[in-house]
Amino acid sequence: MIRSELIQKIAEENPHLFQRDVEKIVNTIFDEITEAMARGDRVELRGFGAFSVKKRDARTGRNPRTGAAVEVEEKNVPFFKTGKLLRDRLNGK
């Protein structure tokens, strides 16, 4: 399923809403999650999962092609942990 299919499904279930509002609703959800993580906040959606930010320390990496050492700066990376309910659903429980 892609973003446009998700919008389509929500639109079909809500015939009283304009398509452009449904688009805005779906976009708002993912934008809010993105903004929260950009602030370093955690997003907890019980039953679905939680988005959080993990810190990666600075390290000396290597260019895999040339073997040259390169300094990689400390950075933050997005992380998702699946919620219990969804994890159980994936396994047919």
Partner: protein, 100 residues
């Protein structure tokens, strides 16, 4: 990290603010979006949200695990797990961290 936790309520508040639906309808729409994504994943499909990321279901085979406390061997059944691969855009937004 600022360590604030964003929940469903914050997401529906944003819809209320941005789209002008009632708080009730906004909350229901947040739920619908999560339900459709979960249903799709439970069917084993991939959920691809452009400029956000991709959720995919992977099959893990059975293996022998160990209780880290007792050292006892326990069989781990084959199972399906969900992985989230953030888009480049999301990675870039998060990488720099809060600009404070």
């Amino acid at each position: 990290m600022s360590e604030k936790t964003v929940t469903r309520m914050d997401l529906s508040e944003a819809i209320f603010r941005e789209v002008g639906l009632s708080r009730n309808d906004s909350a229901q729409l947040v739920e619908s979006v999560l339900t459709h994504m979960s249903d799709s994943l439970a069917r084993g499909e991939q959920v691809k949200i452009s400029s956000f990321g991709t959720f995919s279901v992977r099959d893990k085979s059975a293996r022998v695990g160990r209780n880290p406390k007792t050292g006892e061997e326990v069989p781990i059944q084959p199972r399906r797990v969900l992985t989230f691969r953030p888009s480049h855009l999301l990675k870039d937004r998060v990488a720099v961290g809060p600009r404070r």
